[in-house]
Symmetry: C2
Subunit: 190 residues, 2 copies
DNA sequence: CTGGCATGTCAACGGTCGTTGGCCTACATT
DNA sequence: AATGTAGGCCAACGACCGTTGACATGCCAG
């Protein structure tokens, strides 16, 4: 039962190499400046291969930006530590997954990227907030506040690279942001 | 003494029109997709005029993105309201000045834009934090935290346009963010 | 009136991009 | 071994970009 339904094709490695290169380029350069030619060069293949396997540039971006935030199930955790767990989790994800930076860089100047980002955050963060915030109807609301704080730190630390935000040790970032996220999730509406 | 040293030239109106169009385009499209041709079309002139007056595209961006956050002097204000005053001020600025959105959109995919943004926030927010945070040496530190929260909200509300972040009334945004900013500015280090 | 400078238009250059179609090669099946 | 097909390369197209230089027009000083 572990065997795939279809035999692995020889081109699978090429497709995967294209995706890896695409993620790096989108993360580093954003949508416009990440050219198909550069991505193909990184993957050591011809640009026309990208078209064959992904149709066009937007199809490539869609394929390269499948995102799973891998948010933990917070329901069973001690309610008071939700903030720090979430912040720590996002720092890890951001430092180990080019896709998140790519999504952020692309979403800012590309409507399709922005739409993808809205969907990811609404679904995945929304699902978490729905489980922990006092009034379930406010979940999207709370999710937006959390997203603003998390994305703001990702922006300053990993994209814009403000000196102080980059140099701040991981523990310190968590110590400062955790109470904020905690409050956005669980506090009574002010 | 109110007269300028040089007589106003007839081209001043054109130069200004170019800047207005450039700010709108950079704010709406980011650096790459904001083409000189489109900016010139908006300003009802020939693209070569842009080159004549601003040298090249980067020169145009530099001229179009002179930023003054107009941060109030907080020293004389009641220390406890600093957070809400700052948040309210930034919401106003962001809703009434294309340059801020332009800076954000450009800074994410353009190194020169990022550098400009780092300078603006370090100088202007840093100056404010230096006046109100308990340990002056921590001012850049605190400024980075404030910037992360403010930029995160600007990103979700004005650029990515997350539904809940857009629909949240202004007062509510202030009520939620003010305590956060207040804490980043004045709390003891956690 | 006339010359010179500021203002603006027009056409084109070289370059890069996304994208396409034809051609070659190597493997798997028969 | 023959052959069909998937995988891959190459050259080119048309579009658009930033940028340039030649040329027309208006304005003002002499």
């Amino acid at each position: 039962m572990t065997k795939p339904a279809t035999a692995p094709r020889r081109s699978d490695a090429t497709k995967a190499a294209i995706l890896v290169a695409a993620r790096e380029r989108f993360a580093a350069d954003g949508y416009e400046r990440a050219t198909i030619r550069a991505i193909a060069r990184d993957a050591n293949i011809d640009p026309s291969m990208v078209m064959r396997y992904y149709g066009n540039k937007e199809g490539l971006f869609v394929a390269a930006s499948a995102i799973d935030l891998r948010l933990p199930q917070l329901g069973a955790l001690p309610g008071k530590h939700v903030g720090s767990v979430l912040v720590a989790h996002f720092l890890d994800r951001w430092e180990n997954d080019d896709v998140l930076t790519a999504m952020l860089r692309v979403g800012v100047t590309n409507e399709a990227g922005a739409e993808r980002m809205r969907a990811v955050f609404a679904e995945q963060i929304g699902a978490v907030t729905a489980g922990v915030c006092p009034v379930p109807a406010e979940a999207p609301h709370r999710a937006a506040l959390v997203a603003a704080q998390i994305l703001g730190m990702a922006l300053t630390r990993y994209v814009l690279r403000f000196g102080p935000a980059v140099e701040m040790p991981r523990d310190e970032v968590i110590a400062w942001l955790a109470p904020t996220v905690q409050r956005y999730l669980t506090a009574e509406t002010p």
